[in-house]
Assembly symmetry: D2
Homo-oligomer: 349 residues x 4
């Protein structure tokens, strides 16, 4: 059996940990190096006790890894940091495939990247070698690209819901309003006052209204599919739960379409997709129904305002929104069954 040797960079973050949770049950994947610069030397079980039963290597620094022995790198580092290490890895070991869960190679327009993330992009040439890793919509490019830039969590849910609709012309490219809701893990494991249980619990609030970094990424992909220059409303809210993300897209119908056309379009787009499920008419998507899994549930609803519709999608932000999609892309890139290591059912309740 083919065994792919992997390094995971940033193993002390939630995204890294969730990649391990799922990935250690992959029959063709072996994690040989786990890095976390500030925790180097520790056992993984010290940093994440829930993984103490897994048989994993101890954490090391990035500098300790022999990159030429690594077949695939999963990168769970913060933006900015990812660029540098990826550039270095590919200069040492050009055959190593990169699956990047950070934001560094998602935006094809380098200036837009710099404007959005506030840093100079140090590897603009590599950007051209990156495929946008929205698995269901970019499989061919993912198969061969040296770098797979996994989408942000919000873009994943939004694009899965809207790309087929825009492509088929049943919704308009104007006035797309994305009212988004996310659990607290979306903010990572860093220490922030508003992420304390005492502050985030039992409260809902918006954040980064109009300025969230995932908005330009959504614009980019929607514009690409529609051929128009789309700018979306993007209004995220923090929900008092750990995992899960729901986007409510308020859209205009186009070309005389009605709600049944939207349903038919999504049905057709996803009927053979193992992870995307269009719910039965009237059923409400709930993040709890996809928790811990790579599934995305979608449904469409008639608006009270004529000529409008509501499209709702839910994912687990750490899985389909990050680590799960990374594994799905790994399966695509290395020719394995696309659902290898991703067959876990959601954890409910």
């Amino acid at each position: 059996m083919k065994l792919v040797k992997a390094a995971l960079l940033g193993a002390s973050g939630y995204t890294g940990a969730d990649l391990l949770r799922l990935g250690i049950n992959h029959p063709n994947l072996k994690f040989v190096e786990l890095t976390a610069n500030t925790h180097a030397g520790k056992a993984m079980g010290e940093v994440f006790p829930h993984l103490s039963n897994a048989n994993l290597p101890d954490l090391v620094t990035n500098d300790e890894v022999n990159w030429s022995e690594i077949d695939v790198v999963f990168c769970g580092l913060p933006h900015g940091t990812s660029q540098k290490i990826i550039q270095k890895i590919l200069s040492i070991s050009p055959k190593t495939r990169i699956i990047d869960m950070s934001a560094d190679y998602r935006l094809t327009d380098i200036e837009l990247y710099q404007q959005t993330y506030g840093d100079e992009h140090i590897a603009p040439k590599l950007q051209k070698k990156a495929a946008y890793g929205l698995s269901e919509h970019n499989r061919e490019a993912i198969k061969t690209a040296p770098i797979i830039a996994c989408p942000g969590c919000y873009p994943t849910a939004t694009l899965l819901a809207l790309l087929p609709l825009l492509k088929s012309g049943v919704i308009s490219s104007d006035d797309i309003i994305i009212d988004a809701k996310s659990g607290v893990t979306g903010a990572g494991r860093g220490l922030k006052q508003n992420m304390l249980m005492a502050e985030a619990g039992e409260s809902v609030s918006p954040y980064a209204v109009g300025v969230h970094r995932h908005a330009p990424e959504i614009d980019q992909e929607l514009s690409k599919i529609s051929g128009k220059n789309i700018v979306v409303n993007f209004t995220p809210h923090l929900i008092p739960m750990s995992r899960g993300e729901l986007i409510t897209a308020h859209v205009k119908l186009d070309n005389g379409s009605n709600i049944n056309d939207l349903r038919a379009t999504l049905e057709k787009a996803y009927k053979d997709e193992p992870f995307i499920k269009l719910l039965d008419e009237g059923k409400m998507p709930a993040t709890g129904h996809v928790r811990g899994s790579n599934f995305c549930h979608i449904n469409v609803f008639e608006d009270r305002i004529k000529g409008r519709a509501i499209v709702i999608a839910v994912i687990d932000n750490l899985v389909k929104g990050s680590a799960g999609q990374a594994l799905q892309n790994f399966n695509i890139a290395f020719g394995f069954d696309e659902n290898a290591a991703l067959q876990q059912m959601p954890l409910f309740p």
Copy 2:
């Protein structure tokens, strides 16, 4: 000191309990009768142990109350039920003032009521004696009306945010999208599977998309102020928390206005209101910051889409969205300080 004798109907519901929580500290209000047909005979502390330290009468049935001795009735019964008992009370004791927290007298169009709530309206004549109880916007009528129909929780938050903007013409009456979020107490104390902690916890989901009963009420009041026939998008979501409600209104700017005009309009509308606070620029409203209190926090945000804006309001659904506004209306109706019994600061964290 003037002492008003009150009966609370439906004391075994969350709304009733919250009215008592606040109302028992009102210097001019005395609860002489508490009704709850299925719990009649019990002490209040048996039904709500958190009120066991209060000195309250035991629960009785509606039939046991001598209405002519009651100055004010707070009605926390389900819709349909309220109509009948209110009609009966007013026929026995026409001077008794009614403060209704149910939906029965909110919609002025009787047919719309029947269509929305599915029941025949048995007291259409009384409807004309009812004032819509949005305290800040209808004080004069509230002062004298025999029946004060307290608004629904969602309409309260929505109307506080949008009425001044529509009235002044800075936003358009078209395409008003209300993406709403509520804690589970909005569903009352009835036993429903989706309200179990195991099901509602750690999950976010929409519900009643496009068909929620509060939408026609919002339409009615927005149409009244604007003189146009407004139909809004109303998309409520269930949030894994007990109390709190946030509405995100996605609106179009009108008459060449900009975000500063919206801010100035709200500032002017509410500068003297004790319970309504326009937050400083950039500050995020959070339901946790108004929990347990009668406050409403509002803020306005620029949209990424040109010509649009985002208006966000938060309330505690059981307080400003129900029992607190009922007490505020009581104060208006009986000539007391409007913030009597409502001076509690929010409970945070």
Copy 3:
């Protein structure tokens, strides 16, 4: 590959659902019948939307099942009900193995059963064919018994922590105090007011103090191992979370032992057990670290009171405390790898 045909009785409960969540990934297990009398005719995805992506048979009544074609029955029915259907199944199809997650065959003393559960035991003879299914401590009996009576969730955590200590004599059989904490799924999916999110959330409270039905079961097993007539203190508390169970056992040291002896005893007892982990000295067990998995984490702590110690164990009540242990017992009974279908890592955060 050997394929075992299974029926799951009570597929509309949390325990049944969790058995499916895990069991559908078992390479040798095929669920051919799912029963739920009140939901018969429905697709599983209607009753539990998180399983809508699984390829499962629709729900039927118990009467519709052809028992002679069933190799193994997983019974997730309430106590009382289980006895009757199990008796019937075994009379029709004596070779069918029964893995019972209910309480009906846990207590060997029929009178104690009747006293504890308030019902007459209708199948006392079958009781003798039942093995107590605490996997790690009763493997030989589990291998061959017609009925495997899976332990209650609290007894599982308690016995895993205490059996080796009592057996080796390092703790006393006197004054064993079990202060237990459980998430709300322990109460099942039935509609109870105190299980509403509004009531169970943001609160901790004891329940069934001194009268919980799991206490006699704990007594029975502790008495068996110690040869003494043990009666324990058992004080469960309801914790505002969905899954997870923690027991804090306050015990007396015996025979001159000290905390290191307790540690060494547990270390020795569980060093080859895949699911039981004695944590490193000083590490705190947390239910979040075993969520969704079949793991049990244990640690021992010195008491401030001389001659005493504290033993703490955590499990997921629906997994190691029920469905996971049922699958583990299935693996033992049918000769499969004991961790087949149980290799999922915990879901954290």
Copy 4:
């Protein structure tokens, strides 16, 4: 009306904020100075938006306060820090009364303080001027003491439950086991990984087992009342909720007493106390039933083990466990109605 001028030190912590939440409605108390060294210059509403509607002075440093104009100082600073500033205040303004919510003056044995808190005690002489501020049990001393050392939250709940029982001899001073449960606000507002919502949510775990700093304080007060040298078991657990504390005391009956004697003893001790409620037989105390209030609910339960009993008490850790008791002590010390500013009912649900 007498108006007492107060300074609150440490207004940016949860304890300080809760003191303001309640205290601003006190008719005889005026907060003239609020200090928070790291936030000096800010408006209170910036640090705690839920207090933005209150009319409060901006934050200043401790150095900016003119102590001789201050009648009472509420100290919500961390231990160690409190000692120094209190010593300074009393040297400048000996008449100023100090109500200290920190741990600095709780332990009468200076060496024990140093051993417990790891710091040298810089003001051992002042220790003799401090009264232990358990309101119900030390009123006389509180009335006149220059310093009132408010008890820790756990000691408050524990002592309210056990002091009358030990004093009357119905329980033994041996083997007192305090199994405690607390919400996350007990850890304060500091940034700690285990207090992130993603980590603390949906999990229960013990912490500081056998080494918690509140244990010596409990020992001290129990020993004082019993005349014996008591060392208790103290095992705290972190509960996934914001506020609330429950202690489960597992105790031995003494002097031939039974459960009714315990009930009668507590009944007698607290029958005239406005904040302490012995629940009816069989009723379960719940932290949700005292949330946000100064109440303590207590009940006693028969143990399955003969000769033992279980005593359970609940409080809101930030109110009766800190800020509320501080206000109660203020009322005692200044001769006001003991429940002034403390009449709020609990916030449920």
